[in-house]
Symmetry: C2
Subunit: 343 residues, 2 copies
DNA sequence: GCCGCTCGTGGTAGCGCTGTCAATCGGTGC
DNA sequence: GCACCGATTGACAGCGCTACCACGAGCGGC
């Protein structure tokens, strides 16, 4: 009874090594660090592996080496298009590297996040990307105990668990509202949905900009915890208009709401930007192509994902960045929907 | 030298077993099938595990058991919102089950898909979800060799590798175009982008519907391999109008193009639906909230993901479905943008 | 009272790979 | 010519868990 539980067709490293006429460990090295082998052995292992159709057993590798070449990504939502771009950046940056991405969905719940973090802990990833800076105490403990580089993305704050790539949602919202004020708008409302921590900070930016301009009025603020969407944008604007008939601008905490608001204006024949200015947040592709084109705050989502992975891989491989916190900034995209109304 | 390479704080099953006063294998069973233990042992293992903060080592489990509790998902795009809903269905259905989802991005390349399939092979997933029915020969060989249930999603065809959940893109497009014809439209164009296999089949549906009505004209067809987007929808419509000035309807092979086309009409002051009818494909949320509201073909994307996972888990656990191919159908959502023009 | 059954439990022996360290080899400096 | 050095290579011993099989206890049927 040579091998008790062996699977029929499974080709192992030993088989490859035997065919190549080298020791298993040499064959192993070929797959991890080919340069360490002499050219002749390298070629022999390579052709042997190809001939046998060898596929390495990742579980065995992970067990023996006490680590995996996985980068874990925790994001709050799949439905939110914002994360599409981030994920694209993550995938692009990881492509060609030895690391593969495993991403999980926290559904905007920090408890779910904690649970998933624990799950990752069992997997010993090489690195981790987590969204935002509002984790539970327990989550932070787990992250610190995990002994792998970690990048927090989407926003920046004073106390990174390890590294950070993001921007200030507060500043971005402040800039958007300041722009509306500078265009002569006075009754500037804000509509918001889902109100996650980053959205809250945008709301704060709005509040402070309005306060500083002496324009603050609680009636101008309309938010709901329900998930966002274009339809909701229309509904919220309708409600806000009922509350504030002399509204002359609306800052939408995301672009979906802004587009919904635009359609609502079209439905009500409210001219944009003449009677009502609209500014969104994120600058999704459709903002520029809408009619009128919609102003928004461009956030560097693709770059955020890309840079997070780059920093992570660098850190995993021992090249720690000199600056652990990277501010990617934002850019106010002024378009037709927020032009100065005719005098 | 008891343990040569042991990590300092790593708590293993053996430790838990010792504290609980049972054998390691009994502790192991507790985590996999608690019902098999007597109540007293179960409680003792449970409290011991909690006390030590035991986290199972997934790699070791996978190595010993020759399988992982992972469902692999291959999808072609992250940027395409269509897959958001599918993924949401997948996540929802997997939640609460023992399986975790690992998804990878083929970027609409069947070669990339083949490569990723090979990667999954090394991981021995419990099940696999792949997009579409156009795999390479090699991919199909790999899938057949993988010895796990597989569900192909997004469309259905005559030869499932294993199981399928989807609908007929041909029929759906045919229905959409027939609707426009029934509304009295004659010069019905089609604009398309990225032209993946499923989009190609929609184009076929359009072609046949037009041919059967005696309305076919190659000038009415405008497609491009470039990625889709709202901006592109405007551009394509502009180009099509230049080519076919008497265009009275346009079938857009996805909703992004449809929305871009609507904005282009607004920009050019072409009344929709009076002068031009618009129908999209997929029925994203924004279609109903646009002004005018946009007609589309509703596809059951969420259900597709959900059902795929359900079928997969059932099959993994030995409950093979009676019907391996599930047609989720579609529904034509007729809205303002394709209403009959006034006589 | 004995048989055979099921249920719960434990011992043994790996799963396929890599970390560690020692051995080997060809070339180098003096 | 010899000690020495870096570059390659290999032997050994696990990594933490579970499959397999064995075993004993409890129990109903005859």
């Amino acid at each position: 009874m040579a091998r008790k539980r062996s699977k029929a067709g499974a080709i192992r490293l030993t088989e490859v090594a035997k065919l190549a006429g080298v020791s298993p460990i040499t064959a192993s090295r070929f797959f991890r660090n080919p340069e360490a082998l002499s050219v002749s052995k390298r070629e022999r292992v390579e052709s042997a592996a190809k001939e046998l159709g060898y596929v390495p057993n990742l579980a065995a590798r992970a067990l023996a080496s006490q680590r995996t070449e996985v980068i874990g990504v925790l994001i709050p939502s799949l439905t939110n298009n914002v994360f599409n771009d981030v994920l694209r950046g993550i995938y692009d940056a990881s492509e060609g590297s030895r690391y593969s991405i495993q991403f999980v969905n926290t559904r905007y719940s920090i408890l779910q996040e904690e649970k998933l973090l624990r799950l990752f802990q069992a997997q010993k990833p090489s690195g981790l990307i987590v969204t935002g800076i509002n984790q539970t105490e327990a989550s932070i403990d787990i992250m610190k105990a995990m002994n792998c580089p970690i990048v927090q993305i989407m926003e920046i704050g004073p106390e990174p668990v390890d590294m950070m790539v993001g921007f200030s949602h507060y500043d971005a919202a402040f800039a958007a509202v300041s722009h509306l004020i500078s265009q002569g708008r006075r009754r500037i409302g804000i509509i918001g949905a889902r109100m996650d921590p980053r959205v809250q900070r945008r709301l704060e930016g709005y509040r402070d900009a309005m306060k500083q301009a002496g324009l603050a009025d609680p009636a101008l603020i309309l938010t709901t915890p329900t998930p966002t969407g274009m339809t909701l944008g229309g509904t919220l604007l309708a409600d806000l208009l009922a509350q504030v008939p002399d509204l002359d601008a609306v800052f939408c905490i995301n672009d979906d709401l802004a587009l919904g608001a635009l359609f609502e204006c079209q439905r009500r024949q409210i001219p944009v930007p003449e009677k009502l200015a609209i500014v969104g947040f994120n600058d999704m592709e459709f903002m520029a192509s809408a009619f009128p084109s919609l102003s928004s705050v461009r956030t560097n989502r693709y770059e955020m994902g890309r840079d997070a992975v780059t920093m992570l891989i660098d850190a995993i491989e021992g090249r720690r960045p000199e600056k652990p916190v990277v501010d990617l900034g934002f850019e106010l995209m002024v378009r037709g929907s927020s032009a100065r109304p005719r005098a």
